[in-house]
């Protein structure tokens, strides 16, 4: 097992009387793509800013690549690429000049700089807009430009704060594609969002945070297929006509509970999730006269997993 690239230990951040981050600890291995999930105000950005050397923890420690963030910020800055949720544009500057400025600021010499800018523009597909003034770029283009800036010095660890916020569907797809390519290149990514479905498609590991505390850290796959932690499976049932008879049937049958009523049926929580047991339930439904048109065991949605975890730790649901 390789040494973790990022080690966070008992990290705390207080702002006056507000405890934004409350003693969180976790590791990130090289090459991992970690989704950092939490409601607005849960402490995501504060944690990320401390990892990016932009804020100082009240207590605890963060080490990236074996260097302590607090005591060796300059060394750590070479290892990280930080893409904030709100980034500014410059007036009177083109996209190319923007990348040129940052490449200079990262210390690239003339020839090396032009090569690196070329590589980044090709990767982020920015070549066609390189002479366009920054303040005339669409949100999606600006986001790609910002990602390009983050990649200029080729950092092994990328911290992306709400990277897909405000993007249109097309730009979102493009952005997810770029993230997948970065993951294939072996970059370690730490991506925050409060939209779980979005992270589900990009990340292999999920870190849930609520009111400054970590409430879950595990693989996305285990969340999806891990069922209900011994509480059975979720089954979506659709019926022809009114779903009322189905709801009444669920209320009477032991081992089956209503998870959510839908327009055409219901999502049911079934205690026994073996295929034979599900087949028995379906047979019973048909036997009892329900006009079942669709019956399938569904993969657990990340939103449900998040809500379940929050209930379990006594927190509140997502905002």
């Amino acid at each position: 097992m390789s040494e973790p690239l990022v080690k966070v230990r008992n990290l705390t951040r207080r702002f006056g009387t507000l405890q934004a981050v409350q003693g969180i600890s976790f590791d990130i291995d090289p090459g991992q793509v970690v989704g950092f999930i939490g409601a607005n105000g849960a402490g995501k950005t504060t944690t990320m800013r401390m990892m990016a050397t932009l804020d100082v923890p009240t207590s605890g420690s963060i080490s990236i690549g074996g260097r302590d963030v607090l005591n060796f910020p300059n060394e750590v800055r070479r290892l990280i690429g930080w893409m904030p949720d709100a980034y500014g544009t410059y007036e009177n500057m083109t996209a190319l000049e923007y990348l040129d400025f940052y490449a200079r600021a990262f210390g690239f010499g003339s020839k090396e700089r032009q090569e690196r800018i070329g590589e980044v523009m090709e990767f982020t597909n920015l070549a066609s807009i390189c002479t366009r003034p920054m303040n005339q770029l669409s949100k999606g283009m600006a986001q790609r430009l910002c990602l390009g800036r983050t990649l200029l010095h080729d950092p092994p660890f990328l911290i992306l704060d709400e990277p897909a916020a405000g993007l249109d569907p097309q730009a979102r797809i493009e952005f997810k594609h770029l993230v997948r390519l970065l993951a294939q290149e072996g970059k370690t990514l730490f991506i925050s969002s409060h939209i779980l479905s979005e992270l589900g498609e990009m990340c292999d590991t999920m870190l849930f945070i609520d009111t400054g505390r970590i409430v879950h850290y595990g693989s996305a796959e285990s969340l999806r297929t891990g069922g209900l932690d011994g509480a059975g499976a979720l089954v979506e049932v659709r019926v022809a006509g009114s779903p009322e008879p189905l709801l009444q049937w669920v209320a009477m049958v032991p081992g089956v509970a209503l998870a959510e009523a839908t327009r055409q049926g219901a999502r049911l929580r079934v205690e026994a999730d073996a295929p034979e047991s599900l087949a028995t339930i379906l047979r019973q439904m048909i036997h009892d006269g329900l006009a079942v048109t669709e019956f399938h065991k569904e993969e657990r949605r990340l939103e449900d997993a998040f809500v379940d975890i929050l209930h379990k730790v006594g927190g509140h649901g997502p905002h």
């Binding site: 932009l54 100082v56 005591n71 800055r77 904030p84 009177n92 500057m93 600021a105």
Partner: protein, 452 residues
């Protein structure tokens, strides 16, 4: 993307690219060209040289001394507002390089304006009635003045984001334009002579560069990541300002004048040192510890945070008082000093006791000082403070300073009370700082481990 730009710092390249395309620069440039042409045409007429020269220099002065430096007020503030500053700080650009680069880029643009004016200066010489050397010297002085004003604007631009910052800057400008001339007038009136031109020039030559450095550091301290130490450098600059003003004052036989200039220049750093938060970053203490016992001793005055700031300010005041040409047998001098110390320490102790959990004490300290100042102005305007029944008024911080401006007759008792209050305020601060020193000791231990 030419190689010529590689000779310059990235921030200068960026600022020049942006600045010279900005509407503000283009407008100033075109307006200068227009008015210069008008002035030259005006000089062609008989007997209109004087008026044309006045118009010529007024306009150039306004552009170089006012319009161009004013652009500096948006320098750091604009980056902070635009969420672009932190991205720069994550590169190899330090806060100092960013601030200095912005200043230099603005000065270079001003230089470009000056160069654009040169042909008109030469043209006026050929039209007659103008001393070319004098004009060129004046243009050079305007450029130096503009560089200083730009440093002032950039140094303060970091504080423009918050309302408190703007009020603070307003107070400083008020102090600069109203109180400083008043103080200087007061001193020269007492001494019987006003400072000579050579004193002004020597002060500008020695204190000017230090003042520019101080202004840079004010801006740098505002934008640098909180895990960096900029307090030590600021205090070193303040100490240099005071030392230079003391030495220069003695050499030029103008101790009071230069001490006041040095004191006023060092005041923002000293006030800042009293409200700085102690950073919990062990590596900041490493440079001190590496120098052994002398380094640790130096740290008692120069460590970041207000605990060492308190002793630094006390030492700065002591040095100033030692060098001041005061007669200590004079009661009014004793009262003046006691009232000043009281005004400095008592409100700070009150703020430290009342707002212990506040992240930034400066707004509270500034607010209380302003409140006391307004109270003092109101009371001194509406009451006869020479009334013996109002002797207690001398013990109120700030009001005591006002009483002194009018030679009050019963100062001996008031001096004692003011001194006692100042001592009480300092003692309260000393007790509060013990906890900070405990934290600093823990940081020193952590830093020693890092050193290993």
């Amino acid at each position: 993307m030419n190689d010529f730009a590689d000779w310059f710092s990235p921030i200068i390249v960026k600022e020049l690219r942006q600045g010279m395309r900005s509407r503000a620069f283009l407008l100033i440039f075109l307006a200068i060209q227009f008015f210069m042409i008008v002035c030259v045409i005006g000089s062609l007429g008989d007997g209109s040289h004087e008026a044309a020269a006045g118009f010529f220099w007024t306009f150039i002065g306004a552009a170089i001394l006012f319009a161009m430096p004013l652009r500096g007020l948006a320098a750091l503030n604009g980056e902070m507002k635009g969420n672009t500053l932190e991205l720069m700080l994550l590169t190899q650009l330090s806060a100092w390089r960013i601030t200095a680069g912005k200043w230099l880029a603005l000065v270079l643009q001003t230089l470009l304006l000056v160069c654009a004016v040169l042909p008109y200066v030469v043209l006026r010489y050929f039209l007659g009635g103008v001393n070319l050397v004098d004009d060129l010297v004046l243009l050079g002085l305007l450029l130096i003045g503009s560089a200083l004003a730009t440093a002032l604007a950039i140094g303060f631009s970091g504080f423009m984001q918050s309302l408190v910052g703007r009020i603070g800057i307003g107070v400083l400008f008020f102090a600069g334009f109203y109180l400083v001339p008043l103080l200087l007038f007061n001193i020269s009136r007492r001494g019987g002579t006003s400072p000579s031109v050579s004193s002004w020039l020597a002060a500008a030559a020695v204190l000017g560069p230090l003042l520019v450095l101080e202004l840079f550091e004010l801006g740098v301290g505002k934008i640098a990541p909180s895990a960096e130490n900029h307090c030590t450098r600021k205090r070193l600059i303040a100490a240099s300002l005071l030392a230079a003003s003391i030495l220069l004052g003695r050499a030029l036989h103008e101790p009071a004048f230069l001490l006041i200039l040095g004191g006023i220049a060092a005041a923002p750093i000293c006030l800042g040192a009293l409200v700085e938060e102690t950073p919990f970053v062990p590596s900041l203490y490493l440079p001190f510890l590496r120098r052994g016992l002398p380094g640790r001793a130096f740290g008692r005055l120069f460590y970041p945070g207000w605990a060492s700031g308190l002793w630094f300010v006390l030492l700065a005041i002591a040095a100033t008082l030692w060098a001041a040409p005061f007669s200590w047998t004079d009661t009014s001098t004793a009262f003046r000093v006691a009232a000043l110390l009281e005004t400095l320490f008592v409100p700070l102790a009150i703020v430290r006791l009342c707002f212990r959990r506040a992240a930034n004490l400066f707004p509270f300290y500034l607010g209380l000082q302003l409140m006391l100042f307004v109270t003092a102005v109101t009371l001194s305007a509406n009451f006869n403070l020479h009334d013996p029944h109002l002797i207690w008024a001398g013990c109120v911080p700030t009001l005591g300073l006002f009483l002194h401006l009018w030679d009050y007759s019963a100062l001996d008792q008031m001096a004692l009370w003011a001194a006692l209050l100042a001592l009480l305020g300092f003692f309260a601060l000393f007790l509060l700082s013990l906890k900070e020193w405990k934290t600093i000791a823990a940081m020193e231990r952590e830093a020693a481990k890092l050193n290993l």
